[in-house]
Symmetry: C2
Subunit: 188 residues, 2 copies
DNA sequence: GGATTCCTTTTACATTTGTTAAATAATCAC
DNA sequence: GTGATTATTTAACAAATGTAAAAGGAATCC
């Protein structure tokens, strides 16, 4: 749990009262490689903090497995479209390594917002950061070629390449695995 | 200003105290067609509410004008990556019709957050909605073909097609104008 | 540790999209 | 209104990406 509160502190200082209010909402999970954290079709009621491991959000388009995003240790992973709209998500969350996850119960969290404005502020800041990252990702998809996106990924997060199968990276970049293979062959 | 407070009320009820605190931060602007609301290179210090008209966020990639997003009357337009990170933005905001805009002074707004948790909540909700829309947009770019994206736009927001030049819509869809023209020729 | 399964690359060909340039259509300024 | 400007479409060719199938490598499971 320490990792989680260190993550929180990097956004917003909390008093011990607030920490005590948050703690009961958090439960630790251990998952084996490739296990699902959240299945398709469920409404998202948890915010997941990755203590150890990697996770991805994915879904199926015409039967093809598509990765929307990756998250690594020290960050959160959430199906925001489901969490904020309260509707079932067509996306699933899966861990790609043996992982340790802290699940934060969202309905309980949202109730705390009325009593603890600093908790509301904390999560506002967490999601503002996620928002910015999503805008930057959008930019990359909208205006850069597949090769540019691949090279940018290589620069910004080489860890992705080491820890995540290329078949997942391909759809994350918005291309097929064959196309990614070709791009890699050229830049070698 | 009424339109703005109606927009606020659709997210969060405010007392008259809170409204009175917000009002001095809001200033109305009138812009002629194609005028710039915010130039490239400036740090975003305003949240813009569109009372009347349309606006777009755009920038230049290799000298080519690229549209990141459109916003219509009754919604806000913000360069979030600049507003939340406090860094200069390479993007500009331009109106595409004669428009009436309400500028909300962001540094002043953020100071109100300490005194008025409901104002903080209001903007949390506004940006959560923007976050969700951005995730959905990302999905569309990552997994759908240009033709699918064009048709989806036609269904969801046919107004775009009526009010916005195709050259801007093309880069918004992540394709060239020639390619968009071809897609339109086929589906006719 | 050998067989099996899964991951990645390669090949060949089809399709889509980009690029450049020109033609046509629509809009704007005076 | 008319000429000039801007927007959109079309054409021809080049480059990038998709699809399907096969082959080579790597990892995994008794």
């Amino acid at each position: 749990m320490n990792e989680l509160f260190a993550f929180f502190a990097s956004f917003q200082e909390l008093s011990s009262t607030e920490k005590k209010a948050l703690a009961p909402l958090c439960s630790e999970l251990k998952l084996k490689k490739n296990e699902e954290l959240q299945p398709i079709g469920h409404t998202c009621r948890n915010i997941y903090f990755i203590k150890k491991g990697v996770a991805r959000i994915y879904y199926y388009k015409d039967g093809v497995d598509i990765t929307e995003s990756f998250s690594f240790e020290g960050s959160v992973i959430v199906r925001v479209e489901s969490l904020f709209l309260g509707v079932p998500s067509q996306k699933a969350i899966q861990v790609l390594e043996e992982s340790e996850i802290v699940a934060i119960h969202a309905p309980g969290l949202f109730r705390l917002y009325d009593t603890f404005p600093l908790i509301e502020r904390l999560f506002r800041k967490i999601f503002e950061k996620g928002y910015v990252e999503t805008v930057q990702r959008l930019e990359s998809l909208q205006f850069h070629t597949a090769e540019e996106r691949y090279k940018a990924l290589l620069n910004e997060n080489a860890d992705v390449l080491r820890r995540i199968p290329l078949k997942y990276i391909a759809s994350y970049l918005g291309i097929t695995q064959v196309s990614l293979s070709r791009i890699r062959a050229v830049s070698r």
